[in-house]
Amino acid sequence: MYHASLAYTAAISNPSVQAVGVNVTVDDIPGTYPFDGVLAQKGYALNKMCYSFNDAANRAEFLRDEDAYCAKFGLNAEQREAIRNRDVLALLAAGGNVYYLAKFTGIFKLGVQDIGAQQTGMSLDAFKAKLKAAAS
């Protein structure tokens, strides 16, 4: 517990290290941020909004007025920008959890494989081919 606090303090006070969560920096696992307690707190509003997209009526309301919908859930500037840009990596760093982000990307007919492709910096077809090759 003490070491985790030290690492977190060191991480967030070092301007060249972008801390995402406790003991986790952007470069540790490229494209992946373990969803720990710190990230859960950070991303609460964002995940709450994405959870609302389980409902088709809410998805439609979001598309009618994105700014108003995001404001309703109290997204911070980082989260609002990531949503605006449909940027999966930025959404993850802003505390988004993939189970809820999948409901946001579903609005744009993007699936979890599209998320994976963004995380690995590949096209969807290249990502699917990589999965297939790994299974052989």
Partner: protein
């Protein structure tokens, strides 16, 4: 005393539901995956289990982070798949999972 006749497992990524909804089971990308299902159906047909205990991931449908049990046991007489956030079509009523009314 109950007799365990077997266990079945499958990957449950949302892409699978999407593939089923769009009829892509015979698509070259999906065919090797869905080829695993018919033998399981044949086994179920042969074995005719009395009870199936289904364990699955909520996928952020019923529980949000503010109210998230490690596991929960469903007690409703019937269940149906959910929208999942991308308009997954609801299964026909005959395919809904039914719970036996008595213990």
């Amino acid at each position: 005393m109950a007799k365990l006749v077997g266990g079945i497992c499958t990957s449950h990524i949302p892409a699978i539901g999407n593939a089923i909804a769009r009829g892509l089971e015979d698509d070259p990308y999906w065919q090797p995956f869905f080829a695993g299902y018919p033998p399981v159906r044949e086994w179920l047909e042969r074995v005719q289990p009395d009870v199936a205990v289904i364990v699955y991931n909520d996928h952020g449908l019923n529980f949000f982070l503010d109210n998230l049990p490690t596991f929960a046991i469903g007690a409703a007489p019937e269940y149906q798949n959910a929208d999942e956030g991308w308009g997954c079509p609801r299964s026909r009523p005959t395919r809904a999972i039914r719970r036996f009314p008595s213990t």
